[in-house]
Amino acid sequence: MPRLERRAKPSRVMMFASPLIAAVMMLITGYILFSVMGKEPIHAFGVFFIKPLTTTYGVGELFLKATPLILIGVGLAIGFRARVFNIGAEGQFVMGAIAAGGVALYFHHLEAVWILPLMMLAGIGGGMAWAAIPAFLRTRFNTNEILVTLMLVYVAQLFLGYLVQGPWRDPEGFNFPQTKMFTDSETMPLLIEGLRTNLGFVIALFLVAVAWFFSFKMFAGFRMEVSGLAPDAARYAGFSEQRNVWFALLISGGLAGFAGMVEVAGPIGQLQPVISPGYGFAAIIVAYVGRLHPIGVLLASLLLSLLYLGGETAQMDLNLPSAITGLFQGILLFYLLAADIFIHYRIKPNPHEARCTITPPPPPSGDMI
């Protein structure tokens, strides 16, 4: 039986190859899956992965759906590098959307250029405030941020549900649980007429560059990485663990909140009970598929965005359930984690077989005393 052997140093090749291997394995599994379900696999792949991109509108949709993934993924990656595990970006996304939506509703009667920037700040602030809760609990009481952030997701979602069914419900909305539509000065400007891609995508690309600069060029980024890799070394070097936790959670929370703002002030245009098809959770996959690297996050976001689009066309053309998107996301993450082991390990043939093929060394010679 072949064995795993630790590499002398992590393989850079595998570091980059691992997401590709995972993607290929995902396709192979998808092939089997489609066959079992009685769909012609090649046709199904065409519908799933190619068809969404055959129109300009489709490409616009790809960028549109990638936008929240990029924004959240970039923030999460910064936190994950520092081993601060914010699993609740979905909740911060919702709180950002609520805060931005609140501003939009409050100034609904006005038309001014400052409303949109104010909504952006509100979105960032809402996400940050929600992430500050686990940050405070972790630094003050040493609670586990994974559990706290995750639980707060459900609190945020229920809070949104309460608002749109209660105090913020549109009085002229025929009792539908949703707010008034935001006005033109409360929605993100579109980049190209006819496509739904908006200013948010450009901001996301800019933030990718900022995150790269922070992680690899700034001493503060180095400090966060050390805190994640070796907490004792960080303490020895004098890097504050508390500052690290606060920073990681506020950045990732703020960006998730901003993504929530972009979503409700973009394609949705109002607050509804459900405003995210799980972007906050998919962004965790994005962060890891993207190797916690901002550029990788950008590419991974496009892939995951394609999975969302493919899932939609598969529902329409192939009569598949919407769960197909989540299924592919899960398969991708599963293979990625499996392939990642080869970054630090490599396969070694069976030592017993190897022993037979190596000629025994000559007997000890005269250099013995």
């Binding site: 700034m218 001493f219 070796a230 504050s240 025994p360 005393i369």
Partner: protein
């Protein structure tokens, strides 16, 4: 190879063991014979392949070729569990203990049969007292010092009643008295028929303890010897291939006080920690002061207080270069010129999974030239890392090598080099040469002496008395959280310091003597 009929079979025989790692050949064609009841030394510098060889015997690592004979029968040792089953025990240099578990829990994990916890705790108490290594079975590992952890490792092996005991650098953390006691333990084990493989680079110990020695250099056996018939120099020659360098140290009149601690009292939140009581200490520019003591007597707490890792309340107890420093963090103290080299190299002094290049940056801050306006200057970081590697003769695969790919001694050279080259005014070093081979140890000691000669105030905390007497101007002893007066090394003796280590000194003289 048939042994003569008259003699017993060797307990263990290695024939032509070869083991290659991706970047280095750790063992090449190694032969070794250990007889029953023999204390056999395996001697070699760090990186000579001693540890790999022992891991092969203990079933942790598999050789690429060669065979292992146990009682003259070829065996394939697939795992440590199997090694223990046939009667091999091992005390590792880097301890393999779970920090969040108690002593008894750790030991029960290594036992291959289930024993009731109460019974096991009783056995641990008995065995540990019998062999003069007292430990409390219910203590948690993370609260124990390195020396105490080692006792756990030794007792863990003894519980398995081994027929071959492998000891990897066992005495590096023991007091002279404890070393003698350990030797008694080992001799008794040997007389009971247990073979002992004793890995060390301490030549004096090997000469007094071991019956036979096999010397490794660069993964190959360079010779075998009967240590009692060899001199210190001839063994060193075999081990490092040249003569041992000597430390050069001339008398020097110290200048102004750089590090001052007055009436430092610090209680600990760790239930197994040591409370510091009325610590007074002064280290002047151009002076090397040593603190001796058995591990677990307050060294950890004192060092954390000095480095700033343990926050202190405002008082007038600490001064660094004339600046009150009680409430300063470790990075603020560093900017005053205080540099600290911790006892734990991997994980504290260096980030294991980062390259040496990035580790060179670890203790830098704005103004050191590596960080400019909050940005990392990579060309400078790189040349600094390469400079450290070259200056301190760090054996590694270049500045891109990961810290955890280096041997303990080489990593220590890198850390010492990094801190020294960042121009300290006060240098605090904990266990500078623990687990470091002779050649590298001399290099590190000489570097510290050079630092003192350049008018840096140097404080060395070490459990190796011999080392402190070699390099220190004054020596103090820490015992149970109290610090003895620091007396000139020339006016004291190993015996007196050894006595002080058991806590028998008088604080009252502290002030007078330290100013003498």
């Amino acid at each position: 190879m048939n042994p003569p009929i008259s003699s017993k079979f060797p307990r263990l025989e290695l024939v032509g063991i070869t083991k290659a790692y991706p970047s280095v050949i750790a063992n090449q064609d190694v032969n070794l014979i250990v007889r029953p009841g023999e204390i056999h030394a395996v001697l070699g510098e760090n990186g000579a392949g001693k540890s790999t060889l022992m891991k092969i015997i203990y079933g942790v690592t598999k050789p690429d070729s060669g065979s292992v004979l146990w009682d003259n029968r070829e065996v394939l040792i697939e795992s440590p569990a199997q090694a223990r089953k046939i009667g091999i025990g091992m005390v590792f240099q880097h301890f393999s203990l779970f920090e969040t578990l108690t002593v008894a829990e750790n030991i029960s994990l290594a036992l291959d049969s289930a024993v009731s916890p109460a019974k096991l705790a009783q056995r641990i108490k008995e065995v540990s007292h019998e062999y003069g290594l007292p430990i409390d079975p219910h203590r948690l590992i993370h609260s124990m010092s390195v020396g105490e952890r080692q006792r756990v490792e030794i007792v863990r092996c003894l519980l398995n009643a081994p027929r071959l005991l492998i000891m990897d650098e066992p005495t590096s953390v023991l007091t002279p008295q404890a070393v003698l006691k350990l030797f008694e333990t080992l001799r008794r084990l040997a007389s009971e028929g247990c073979s002992i493989l004793y890995i060390s680079h301490k030549l004096d110990e090997i000469r007094t303890l071991c019956d036979k020695a096999t010397i490794l250099r660069g993964g190959r056996v360079t010779g075998t010897a009967i240590p009692s018939q060899e001199s210190h120099e001839s063994l060193a020659q075999l081990m490092i291939g040249r003569n041992l360098p000597e430390c050069q140290m001339a008398a020097k009149i110290p200048a102004e006080t750089r590090l001052k601690i007055q009436h430092l009292n610090l209680s600990t939140i760790d239930p197994f920690g040591v409370t510091l009581k009325n610590i007074n200490l002064e280290v002047r520019a151009g002076e090397m002061v040593g603190i001796a003591g058995i591990s677990g007597n307050g060294q950890k707490e004192l060092l954390a207080a000095l480095s700033g890792e343990q926050p202190m309340s405002k008082g007038l107890t600490t001064e660094i270069c004339g600046t009150p420093a009680d409430t300063l963090s470790s990075s603020q103290r560093r900017s005053l010129g205080l540099r600290f080299i911790p006892e734990e190299r991997l994980g504290r002094g260096a980030v294991p999974s980062m390259s040496l290049r990035l580790n060179a940056l670890l203790t830098s801050s704005e103004g050191d030239g590596l960080v400019k306006h909050g940005l990392i200057s990579y060309p400078d970081v790189r040349s600094f890392a390469q400079y450290v590697i070259a200056q301190f003769n760090v054996k590694c695969g270049g500045d891109g090598a990961l810290a955890n790919s280096l041997s303990g001694g080489n990593l220590q050279k890198f850390i010492v080099g990094r801190e020294i080259l960042l121009a300290p005014k006060v240098m605090i070093v904990a266990q500078p040469t623990w687990g470091v081979d002779v050649g590298a140890a001399q290099l590190i000691r000489q570097a510290l002496i050079d630092l003192r000669n350049q008018d840096v105030a140097v404080l060395v905390v070490s459990e190796e008395l011999e080392e402190l007497f070699m390099i220190c101007d004054r020596i103090a002893v820490i015992a149970d959280g109290r610090l003895s007066p620091a007396v000139p090394a020339s006016q004291t003796s190993v015996e007196k310091i050894g006595l002080w280590m058991s806590g028998e000194f008088n604080d009252v003289h502290a002030e007078e003597v330290s100013h003498a």
